[in-house]
C-alpha cells in the first residue's frame, strides 16, 4: 500500500549513516535490556503508587466515614449531656429559692431571731438584750405570700429526706434480707445499715 511505503521510506534518510553502521556491530539484547530494566521499575513503581494511593484513599474514606458516625454519636451525646446539665441546674436553682430554703428551715425547726444582739469585738460589749429566739415560725415564713409554681411537686423536710433515703438504701436493704435468709446473723441491725450505706460520706444524723 502506498501509506506503508511512506512510513517505511521516511525514517531511512533520517538515520545517520554512522548509527546504521554501529547497529550492525553492537549487541542488541544488552541495549534493550538496559532500556527495559529501568522501564519495568518505573512501571512497577507507578502501578504500586497508583494502587497505594487508591488504597490510601479508600482507607482514608473509610476512616472519615467511621469518624463521621463517631462524631455524630458524640454530638448527640454532647447534646444529651448539655440538656442533663441544664435540667440539673434548673432544679438546683429552684431548690435554692428562698421559699424552699425557708420551708426546709421551718421543717428542721429553725426560727428567725427578730431581735438581734451584737457583740463588739473591739470593746467586748454586748449590744442589745440577748434573748432566745422566739418561734413564731408560722408568721415568719407564712407560705402562700410569695407563691412559686416552680416548687410544685418538690417535697420538703421529712418527706424529702425520706425520698432521698429510699433510693440509696434499697439495694442495701435487699442485701441485708438476702444475707439474713442464707445465714442468720444475730440481730442484724438493719437500722445501722440504713444509717450508713457503704458508699456514703460520713455525716452525723440530724433530725
Amino acid at each position: 500500500m502506498s501509506t506503508a511505503n511512506l512510513a517505511f521510506t521516511l525514517p531511512a534518510p533520517e538515520v545517520p549513516a554512522e548509527e546504521q553502521r554501529t547497529r550492525h556491530i553492537e549487541v542488541v539484547p544488552s541495549r534493550s535490556q538496559r532500556r527495559a530494566r529501568p522501564r519495568l521499575v518505573y512501571a512497577v513503581t507507578a502501578v504500586v503508587g497508583v494502587v497505594g494511593v487508591l488504597f490510601g484513599q479508600l482507607g482514608l474514606s473509610i476512616l472519615l466515614a467511621d469518624n463521621t458516625y463517631e462524631i455524630s454519636s458524640l454530638r448527640s451525646e454532647q447534646q444529651q449531656l448539655t440538656r442533663d446539665e441544664a435540667a440539673l441546674s434548673e432544679k438546683l436553682n429552684v431548690l435554692s429559692s428562698p421559699q424552699h430554703l425557708s420551708d426546709e428551715a421551718v421543717a428542721l425547726g429553725m426560727v428567725s431571731d427578730a431581735s438581734p444582739v451584737f457583740f463588739d469585738l473591739a470593746t467586748g460589749a454586748v449590744l442589745g438584750e440577748a434573748t432566745p429566739a422566739e418561734g413564731d415560725v408560722e408568721r415568719q415564713f407564712e407560705s402562700g405570700l410569695t407563691p412559686n409554681e416552680a416548687l410544685a411537686g418538690i417535697p420538703v423536710g421529712a418527706a424529702a429526706a425520706e425520698q432521698q433515703q429510699q433510693q440509696p438504701t434499697q439495694p442495701v436493704v435487699a442485701e441485708e434480707t438476702d444475707a439474713a435468709a442464707s445465714a442468720p446473723v444475730p440481730a442484724a441491725p438493719a437500722q445501722n445499715a440504713e444509717e450508713a450505706p457503704a458508699d456514703s460520706l460520713p455525716a452525723p444524723q440530724t433530725h
Binding site: 469518624n67 421559699q99 427578730a114 412559686n148 416548687l151
Partner: protein, 576 residues
C-alpha cells in the same frame, strides 16, 4: 468498483451525518444541563441531600446582685401526634397510650383522647405542651409510633414571685411585662440556621456542614436587687397586708449613697411561672406604676425645702391650731387638739398639717413647686420601668391656693413608692439625689458590660438642709406617737409617717394609704426604707405600717452588717 465505492461513500457520509447529529444533540443537552440549568439543578440536588437545622441560643439570664438566678432559659418540648395514625393504630391504641402519657405528664387521659379525636383526619395535634427533659425521656421510652416531639425553648423563674413583679414574664408572643420586656434588647438571643448534607441514614456527610447564620445567645442582665432581702420584704408586707385587710402593699429598700434599689416589693405579686395566679392589676409593679397622694411623708420634703432657702430653722416657732381657715376651705390636723406651741421639729414630730402649712407661707409656692420637681416628682425615674408612672404634677399655673397649701403635707400631689424612696434617699445622701437604679448592667456573651448606670448625682438641697431634716426626723422615731413601734435597739432611725386620704372621683373617701418612709442609721444614713399599705381595713393610720417598717429596717441593718450607733441623738426642742 466505482459503484461500490459510491455506495460506500454514501453510507459513510450518512453515518457521519447521523453521528454528527447525535453528537450535536448531546452537546446541546450538555450545555443545557451544565451551563443553562446548572444553578437550578445544583440547588435541587443539594436540597435533596441537605437539611436546614435551626440552632437555638439561649435567652439571657436575669440575675440578682449576688448572682442568684431570677430567670433562666430552659429546654421544654411539646408532645404532638398524628391523630390519623393514632386512631388507626392497633399496636398502640389511643386510650391505653393516653393513660400511659397522662401518668407521666400528670394530665387527664380524657384530655389527651379528646385532643386526638378533635380532628381525626389531621396530621398534627398537641398532646402535651411544655414537658420537661425527664418527662420527654419517659414518654420516648413508651415508644409510641404516632407520637412526635417539638423542641420549644422556654423560660423558668426559679424564685417564682420573688421579684416576679420586676422580672416580668414571657407569653406565647414573647416578652409581656417587666424587665423581660423593657430589657429585651439585652436578653434576646438570635436563633441560627445551619445546613448540612446527610446520607440515607441521616448521618452528616463528612465535611458538608455549612453554617449559614451563627446563633447568638442573649446577654445576662444583672439587677441591683438582693433576692434574699426581696423575699423577706415581700413576706413582711404580705403578712401585714393580710393582717390589716389591705388591698395591696409595696415596700422599697434603697441604698442611700448610690440610689440602687435593693428590694422593690409588691403584694400581691405575680409568680411568672403562673401568670394567671393573680389579678391582672398585679402583673407589674405597683411601686413603680401606681402614684398615690403620699400624705405626711411629704412634710420632710417641705421642711428640707424651707431650710434650704434659709427661711426657717429647726426651732422656728409656730402656733399650730387643730383647724386653720384658708381661703375657700379648712385645713385640719389628724387628731383633735388645742393650740400647740411647736417648733418646726415639733411640727414634724406631731405631723401637724396646720403647722407646716403656716411655715410654708414663708416661701412662694412657685419656688416650692420647683423643689418638688427637682426631687423627681413629675418625671419618671431613671429606671424607666415598664408601665412606670411619672406621677404627673399639675402645672403650677393650675394650682389654686388650696393646692398650694395641701401640697405642703402631701395632698394634691402624687408620688410612687419609688419616688418617695428617692426623696428620702436625697435627704439621706446629704442633699444629692442619685439616679434610681434597678439594673447593674447587661453582660454580653463576649464578657463586656453595657447599660451600666452613670451614677452621677444632682444636688437638690444643701447638705445643711438635708442633714438637719434627717436629724429632725429622729424626733419622730424617738418621741413621736409611733415611737414604740419604730425604734430599733442600738440604732438611730429617722422616719416619717404618712396617712393619706384616697380621692375617688374628686372626693376624698374614708380609704387611706398608710406609709412610713425613713432611713438608718440617722447619724450617717446608709439605707432608705419605704412601706405603704393601700386601703387597710382594721388600722387606718400609719400605725399599721410602722411594725413592718421596723421589721424590714432591722433586717436590712443586720443583713448588711451596719454597726450600731454609738452616740445617742441630741434632739431639737419640739415645743416652746
Amino acid at each position: 468498483m466505482p459503484r461500490a465505492q459510491r455506495s460506500l461513500r454514501a453510507r459513510l457520509a450518512l453515518t457521519l451525518v447521523v453521528v454528527l447529529a447525535v453528537v450535536t444533540v448531546f452537546v446541546v443537552r450538555l450545555i443545557d444541563i451544565q451551563v443553562v440549568q446548572a444553578a437550578a439543578l445544583n440547588e435541587q440536588s443539594t436540597s435533596r441531600r441537605s437539611v436546614p437545622v435551626t440552632t437555638y441560643a439561649p435567652r439571657g439570664e436575669i440575675i440578682d446582685s449576688t448572682g442568684k438566678v431570677l430567670a433562666d432559659s430552659t429546654d421544654r418540648w411539646d408532645i404532638t401526634a398524628s391523630p390519623r395514625y393514632a386512631l388507626a393504630s392497633t399496636k398502640h391504641p389511643v386510650q391505653e397510650s393516653a393513660e400511659a402519657i397522662a401518668a407521666i405528664t400528670g394530665q387527664d387521659p380524657a384530655e389527651i383522647v379528646a385532643a386526638l379525636q378533635a380532628k381525626p383526619d389531621a396530621d398534627h395535634a398537641y398532646v402535651s405542651r411544655s414537658v420537661s427533659l425527664d418527662q420527654l425521656r419517659r414518654i420516648k421510652e413508651l415508644d409510641i409510633s404516632w407520637l412526635y416531639d417539638e423542641y420549644r425553648p422556654s423560660r423558668n423563674y426559679p424564685q417564682g414571685s420573688v421579684a416576679g413583679n420586676l422580672v416580668g414574664f414571657i407569653g406565647t408572643d414573647g416578652p409581656q411585662a417587666g424587665l423581660e420586656l423593657s430589657e429585651n434588647d439585652c436578653l434576646a438571643s438570635t436563633n441560627g440556621v445551619s445546613t448540612y448534607e446527610r446520607g440515607a441514614d441521616g448521618v452528616r456527610l463528612p465535611g458538608s456542614t455549612v453554617t449559614e447564620t451563627q446563633a447568638q445567645p442573649g446577654g445576662t442582665l444583672q439587677l441591683t436587687i438582693d433576692s434574699d432581702l426581696q423575699y423577706f420584704v415581700q413576706q413582711a408586707i404580705g403578712q401585714q397586708a393580710n393582717a390589716l385587710g389591705a388591698e395591696s402593699a409595696t415596700a422599697v429598700v434603697m441604698k442611700a449613697s448610690s440610689g440602687e434599689l435593693l428590694a422593690v416589693a409588691d403584694y400581691p405579686s405575680v409568680d411568672p411561672n403562673n401568670v394567671d395566679g393573680v389579678d391582672i392589676r398585679y402583673l407589674g409593679s405597683l411601686a413603680f406604676s401606681t402614684p398615690f397622694e403620699p400624705g405626711s411623708t411629704f412634710k420632710a420634703l417641705t421642711a428640707a425645702t424651707l431650710l434650704d432657702k434659709g427661711v426657717v430653722s429647726p426651732t422656728s416657732k409656730i402656733v399650730a391650731p387643730y383647724e386653720l381657715e384658708v381661703g375657700d376651705g379648712t385645713i385640719k390636723d389628724s387628731f383633735v387638739h388645742g393650740d400647740l406651741n411647736l417648733t418646726l421639729t415639733g411640727v414634724l414630730q406631731n405631723s401637724s398639717n396646720t403647722g407646716i402649712a403656716q411655715l410654708a407661707e414663708y416661701m412662694p409656692a412657685s419656688q416650692r413647686y420647683e423643689y418638688i420637681e427637682r426631687f423627681g416628682i413629675g418625671t419618671r425615674t431613671e429606671v424607666g420601668f415598664n408601665g412606670e408612672s411619672p406621677s404627673p404634677l399639675r402645672p403650677f399655673e393650675d394650682w389654686d391656693s388650696r393646692t398650694a397649701l395641701n401640697s405642703t403635707f402631701g395632698q394634691g400631689v402624687v408620688a410612687t413608692s419609688v419616688q418617695v424612696a428617692s426623696i428620702y434617699q436625697t435627704l439621706a445622701n446629704n442633699g444629692v439625689r442619685m439616679p434610681v437604679t434597678l439594673v447593674k448592667g447587661c453582660q454580653l456573651p463576649d464578657g463586656s458590660w453595657v447599660d451600666t448606670p452613670t451614677g452621677e448625682g444632682t444636688r437638690v438641697v444643701s447638705e445643711y438642709a438635708a442633714d438637719t431634716t434627717v436629724h429632725m426626723l429622729e424626733s419622730v422615731v424617738q418621741d413621736g406617737f409611733l415611737a414604740k413601734s419604730l425604734t430599733i435597739d442600738g440604732y438611730r432611725v429617722a422616719a416619717k409617717s404618712g396617712t393619706a386620704e384616697i380621692a375617688e372621683g374628686g372626693v376624698y373617701t374614708s380609704d387611706r394609704v398608710i406609709s412610713i418612709a425613713g432611713m438608718a442609721p440617722a447619724e450617717n444614713p446608709e439605707y432608705v426604707v419605704v412601706v405603704t399599705l393601700t386601703k387597710p381595713d382594721t388600722i387606718k393610720t400609719s400605725a399599721g405600717a410602722a411594725p413592718t417598717f421596723r421589721e424590714i429596717m432591722s433586717h436590712v441593718l443586720t443583713t448588711y452588717r451596719v454597726p450600731p450607733s454609738t452616740d445617742p441623738a441630741e434632739l431639737y426642742p419640739a415645743t416652746w
